[in-house]
């Protein structure tokens, strides 16, 4: 917005009349039309993609018309019983909660050290934690699945949890390190001066300050784990499929069942993700994940 304000130069100036002229400018420039047009096209496509799944899951028959002939809920009950969705959802939640808890336990202490201390080999350690995030899951997923099968850990829920931890622990570390860095170390020094031991510094000073950050990164880990396809797909057995893998399997084995049951399962998956997302966005601002936005200066 500051560009449009300053572009007028001294002629328009910061007179009381600047406010309406700025609004007119934004509407008039072709660049703005182009940008909003592109955003609009993207959003319409998104709506079409999500909407057609939603409509199809409720439709009776839908072949050559704009909308289905009639509406029904039968596909949901079919999908629910045929795919054993209750068990799948329970597995998904078990995996997600276990991954969140373990990655916080393993990640937060490490990120504390990375944020507070310089030590020899810090760059290597940092790189080691960064690699699993930078690498796509399928690249390390195949060797990881090999190892997990070798030790008879894959093919059940423990294998799925272990595999999902691999990108999640580094993710917690990478989001928590900048968060800890911004906490003033003098608070800890003051506590130590007053005789607090490491443990009580952790529980009574750091934990309350870290709680918002831990909450934010664990919600993101939760969303990631529920949506993680490749690693779960490579390590899951028949009883340990999560929702997204069950969805893929049902789509890939198309032709046996009605398309609508697949769609209704997709809607169930989508609603689980939406609930998580709404909860997540109450705690996390997506644009602040990379760097802090300098809100007060962008007028």
């Amino acid at each position: 917005m500051s560009t449009t304000l300053t572009r007028g130069g001294p002629a328009t100036g910061r007179t009381p009349g600047a406010e309406p002229s700025r609004r007119r400018r934004v509407v008039a420039t072709p660049g703005a039309w182009l940008v909003w047009g592109a955003v609009g096209i993207f959003l319409v496509t998104l709506l079409g993609v999500v909407g057609s799944v939603l409509v199809n899951s409720f439709g009776t028959q839908w072949f050559d018309s704009w909308m289905p002939n009639g509406y029904t809920l039968q596909w949901y009950s079919e999908a629910w019983s045929e795919y054993g969705l209750l068990a799948v959802i329970i597995t998904t939640l078990e995996v997600a909660v276990a991954v969140v808890a373990l990655s916080v336990i393993l990640g937060v202490p490490a990120s504390y050290v990375l944020a507070r201390q310089k030590f020899p080999g810090k760059k290597i350690v940092y790189l080691l934690f960064l690699l699993p995030i930078m690498m796509p899951p399928i690249t390390y997923g195949i060797p990881l699945a090999t190892v997990l099968y070798k030790f008879h850990l894959a093919g059940n829920i423990s294998g799925v949890i272990l595999a999902n931890l691999v990108p999640c622990v580094p993710f917690v570390i990478m989001t928590m390190t900048p968060f800890i860095e911004q906490i003033d170390p003098s608070i800890e020094h003051a506590a130590r001066m007053s005789g607090a031991r490491t443990w009580s510094v952790f529980t009574r000073i750091l934990a309350p300050l870290l709680l918002p950050g831990i909450l934010a990164s664990s919600i993101l880990v939760l969303v990631r784990t529920v949506g993680m396809f490749e690693l779960t797909f490579l390590t899951a057995g028949p009883d340990s499929n999560t929702l997204v893998v069950a969805l893929f399997n049902s789509m890939n084995a198309a032709g046996i069942r009605a398309q609508q049951t697949v769609d209704s399962m997709a809607v169930i998956y989508m609603s689980v993700m939406m609930i998580l997302l709404v909860v997540a966005l109450r705690f996390v601002n997506p644009t602040q994940l990379v760097s802090q936005v300098k809100e007060e200066q962008t007028d």
Binding site: V49, S52, Q117, P120, I142, Q288, V290
Partner: protein, 307 residues
């Protein structure tokens, strides 16, 4: 306290406390133990499997020399062409995601009504994941889907466009899940650039083109490089949508499908590991090239907080 106790301790135990203090000066102390659980975990579940896969890739299942798995991959054009197919899909789509994001993010970086809403809407496709996007694309862009129907009733086309089960289906799926990701990253990089720099430039008489080219773009270049790398990695490992909305036996048989088929369908873990290693090498090569390009630009603070 250490200065007071050190001489006395030196008398009692010649090296003990002194060594501890010397190590502490270099940053080695008991606090480092907090690093151990995370480090052990990464070594056991990331480094070890990776090395195991690397050694396995040199031990072909059916005997033969150490490089047989690799030779098999490169000599069989059905396998080795997957590299080219993947790059042909991943580089254009990653470039599109980044280049389309820049003008939009540049325009939308200020404060405006509904910004929070827009960013929320854009996060949705990231969380939907590729499997759901694939299902939606099959419905939406299919021959009887809303998109073709709208174009046909508008009289733009006579026959439905073939948009699914081919290259374009996978391309769209990468754009839908990758574009919001690239946009949000670039938006946050742009917000991290101190706006007073641009104001200073405009005070000195630079128009918006010059401001963008000489101030914003050089400061944004590292962010662009990182964003390109991340979206490229996402696009390079495209797997579910290549199977579901693509043409997995021919034009979109990407390298991850080859790796998956070797591992899960043929149980040839050696060959699968070899393909995974080839994937890793190509990714690192592309990321390295991008970082090399990035190093030509200004490196340092962008003036924004925490950037």
């Amino acid at each position: 306290m250490s200065t007071a106790s050190r001489p006395m301790a030196r008398v009692g135990k010649p090296t003990g406390p002194l060594l501890r203090h010397r190590l502490a000066d270099r940053g080695i102390n008991a606090r480092l133990l907090l690093l151990v659980p995370g480090l052990v975990f990464i070594v056991m579940l990331f480094v070890y499997p990776f090395l195991y896969g690397l050694t396995l890739s040199f031990q072909p299942m059916d005997g033969g020399g150490p490089f047989d798995s690799y030779r098999r991959f490169f000599e069989d054009s059905f396998q080795s062409s997957t590299i080219w197919k993947t790059l042909k899909l991943a580089i254009p789509s990653a470039l599109f995601n980044v280049l389309a994001s820049v003008p939009i993010a540049y325009r939308l970086r200020g404060k405006f009504r509904g910004k929070r809403f827009l960013t929320t809407v854009l996060v949705i496709p990231i969380t939907l994941g590729t499997v759901l996007t694939a299902e939606g694309l099959l419905n939406f862009l299919g021959p009887a889907g809303w998109f073709n129907r709208a174009l046909m009733s508008a009289g733009v086309i006579n026959e439905p466009l073939p948009l699914i089960n081919n290259y374009w289906g996978v391309f769209f799926s990468i754009v839908i899940s990758g574009f919001p990701f690239a946009f949000l990253l670039i938006l946050s990089y742009l917000s991290g650039i101190d706006p007073s720099l641009e104001r200073a430039a405009s005070t000195l008489g630079a128009d918006w083109k010059e401001r963008f080219r000489r101030i914003t773009l050089p400061l944004l270049a590292p962010g662009l490089a990182t964003t390109f790398c991340l979206t490229f990695v996402l696009a390079f490992s495209v797997f579910p949508s290549a199977i579901l909305v693509g043409d997995p036996t021919n034009t979109t048989r990407v390298i991850s499908i080859a790796a998956y088929q070797a591992a899960i369908e043929q149980y040839d873990w050696s060959f699968a590991s070899a393909i995974a290693m080839i994937m890793g090498v190509i990714e690192i090569a592309v990321i390295g090239l991008v970082q090399l390009w990035r190093s030509q630009f200004y490196v340092g603070s962008t003036g924004g907080k925490g950037a």
